[in-house]
């Protein structure tokens, strides 16, 4: 039996140790770049889950791909967002923004692709303390523009803070992988351990001059002028422009590892904490007997506990057979808890009492939103 006794392992031409060994604990710290799991703070970074399906035209706050949000000021923006199959090797999907009206942003206008991360999932970052950890963002992008694009990390809790870094696109309309490392933020009061927004990441697409004049390449107290510092392109200046993004990963440390691929079910369940589209297999939602005093329940159980009691929207038109007159059309807006939604209907007379989507097509049902 033989052994190697060293304190560290470093590439012959490296400037840092790849593996550091600790004698006291007989352990090591290794900068492994592949096959690590559960390290991505971004949900749906591979753009695989799109519960709302279809496409969205010019809508802020509309989720085409779960967890992602187009975030735009007022202005004559016009675009279509879709889940696309144009993607780099190893990925199946991307978020596509198709510009449909050319627009040059005025000073106060902005347009970004954004994801908000729940605060309770970020406590290990030690944000706001001396031990605050660095974060590394890696992603694949296909932009119609060469040059510097900005990506901002925004922290809203306590003292609002922002750090903005840029990546440079070398070739237009070509998939390129980018990696950006953000400093740990030792100031600002930290991230409150709750179910609100802890961090927000914005891939800037087009911004006015109000957002680019203050250097925010180190963490600063939030100021509009620093939000998109260094951003130098306008993705929306031509209707021929398409912007694609996928493989987004945000992880602790100062290097980016290979994208942490998940199976669809894992990503879907993560997404369901914030949004769930219930699509029944048939037109009936509930069915029972009522004599005028018996209330017939209808339930939707969520796959995972949602972030808050969600807002619900009914898709399609529901009819209540033998429903009490003027009564529980409340079925159109079930009560919601974090784990389930329910409502009751009562018969107007004794007999079968039920609720159903009177035109059943794929897509009818309820949506539940507990988005950040």
């Amino acid at each position: 039996m033989s052994q190697i006794n060293v304190d560290a392992i470093r590439s012959a031409n490296g400037t840092g140790d790849a593996i550091s060994l600790t004698a006291a604990s007989n352990t090591c710290t290794a900068n492994i770049t592949n096959n690590l799991s559960n390290r991505n703070l971004i949900i749906n970074g591979a753009m695989t889950v799109a519960q709302t399906r279809g496409s969205s035209t010019t809508g802020t706050g509309i989720k085409i791909l779960d967890r992602w949000n187009c975030y735009a000021s007022s202005g004559s923006w016009a675009w279509t967002s879709t889940q696309d199959t144009d993607s780099p090797d190893g990925f199946s999907n991307s978020f596509k923004i198709d510009v449909t009206t050319a627009h040059t942003p005025a000073a106060a206008e902005y347009f970004s692709l954004q994801q908000r991360i729940e605060a309770c999932d970020l406590q290990h970052l030690l944000n706001g303390s001396a031990g605050a950890k660095k974060l590394t963002l890696s992603f694949w992008v296909k932009s119609p523009k060469t040059g510097n694009h900005a990506v901002a990390l925004y922290k809203p809790d306590n003292t609002a803070r922002v750090q903005t870094k840029t990546y440079s696109v070398s070739a237009a309309n070509t998939w390129e992988k980018k990696t950006i490392t953000y400093d740990g933020d030792t100031a600002g009061g930290g991230i409150t351990n709750d179910n609100g927004t802890g961090l927000q990441i914005d891939f800037h697409l087009a911004v006015g001059s109000d957002y680019t004049s203050t250097d925010s390449t180190s963490w600063i107290n939030y100021a509009d002028a620093g939000w998109a510092y260094g951003h130098a392109v306008n993705i929306t200046d031509n209707t021929a422009n398409n912007f694609y993004l996928t493989g987004v990963q945000l992880e602790t440390g100062d290097f980016g590892s290979d994208y942490c691929h998940e199976n669809y079910g894992q990503t879907f369940r993560k997404c369901c904490r914030y949004f769930y589209a219930f699509r029944p297999a048939g037109s009936f939602w509930r069915d029972g007997y009522s004599d005028g005093n018996i209330y017939i329940p209808g339930y939707v159980w969520f796959p995972v506990q949602m972030r808050t009691n969600p807002t619900d929207v009914m898709i399609g038109t529901m009819t209540h057979g033998n429903n009490e007159s003027g009564g529980d059309a409340l079925a159109e807006a079930p009560y919601t808890k974090q784990d389930y939604a329910y409502s009751y209907v009562r018969g107007n007379s004794s007999g079968r009492t039920y609720s159903y989507w009177n035109t059943y097509v794929d897509g009818v049902g309820f949506t539940f939103s507990a988005e950040l």
Binding site: T60, G61, D224, Y295, R307, P334, Y335, S369, A370
Partner: protein, 67 residues
């Protein structure tokens, strides 16, 4: 930070809870029209739609009482 994703509330009405034994006297949630979409909104301050309704009330609007 500016929040351009603020929603437009145009109507809000309380709904009384209905359980297996029938309606109760307390409000359980709201039926609202937000961004032209009819939706049920829980009375949960962590819910962003309820936050939007509270801002709408602060602006001088009134939530209609339950039927």
């Amino acid at each position: 930070m500016k929040n351009p994703n603020e929603m437009t509330v145009t109507a809000a009405k309380y709904v009384k809870a209905v359980g297996p034994d029938g309606p109760s006297s307390s409000n359980s949630h709201l039926i609202c029209t937000i961004d032209d979409v009819k939706c049920g909104v829980p009375l949960d301050t962590g819910n962003k739609h309820y936050q939007a309704v509270l801002k709408w009330v602060e602006a001088g609007n009134t939530i209609e009482a339950a039927s």
